[in-house]
Symmetry: C2
Subunit: 117 residues, 2 copies
DNA sequence: TTCATATTTCCAAATATATGGAAATATAAG
DNA sequence: CTTATATTTCCATATATTTGGAAATATGAA
């Protein structure tokens, strides 16, 4: 589960060019994550600016932080992203989800869904 | 498909309390949508403020607008939301999606996913 | 210790977003 | 044509976010 405020913070966190790029870079990196330094180099962002944006993503619960010697390693929190997606998907069409399908005829041959992120 | 800018605009659109409430109210309403007036009353928002927020959601492509006599009817664009979700889900773990699953053991009994929104 | 590296916190200036009253536009009814 | 309803656009003010240099903190190496 996820509160309205959590969802709001998550969208706010992703609603910024640098942060969205950071998040996607971390999705790409997978569970191993990347250090702040590696991210700074990858995206060419000054350290204080990077730190600010990572803090936003972390405050939204979208990424985790872990120290490894002098480096801080960031990685996506997949479960949280799935919660955010569920937040948007739930309670559709006043409890009649079938109304939410793009078009009636597309339902029969709908492609199988993959686990998000 | 969806561009980075499109995704960014979508998150920005949802990253605001009133707009998120509007969007969710429209998800609930389903394909029939709701008029600006109905939304103004439901959320108790002054007309100009409402109009501003609806324009943001529309600019992001998340909702559609259609005139019906004197009223303007707004409804969610389900296809766009699915695109936004796909944007976040794609290219995970450097091309090894299995690494992105929350935990290895949770994969076998993963629940079936429902079409988003 | 002392020094170097990695990253954060502090803070002030620049930029962007949200709010709502008053006026404008669109549509329909009498 | 006049009036009423529905909604938007205009615009000034208020509020929030982003930026990056300088200084502070944390860790490890010599």
């Amino acid at each position: 589960m996820i509160t309205d405020q959590d969802a709001l913070r998550s969208f706010a966190a992703l609603a910024q060019e640098t942060r969205l790029a950071l998040y996607r870079r971390l999705v790409e990196a997978g569970p191993a994550g990347l250090s702040a330094g590696a991210l700074a180099e990858a995206l060419d962002v000054p350290a204080p600016t990077l730190s600010f944006h990572l803090a936003q993503l972390r405050g939204a619960g979208l990424i985790t932080q872990q120290r490894s010697s002098r480096s801080l390693i960031y990685a996506v929190d997949v479960a949280r992203m799935n919660d955010v997606i569920a937040f948007l998907s739930d309670r559709c069409c006043g409890g009649q989800p079938e109304l939410c399908l793009p078009t009636p005829k597309s339902a029969p041959h709908a492609r199988p869904r993959r686990k998000a992120v």
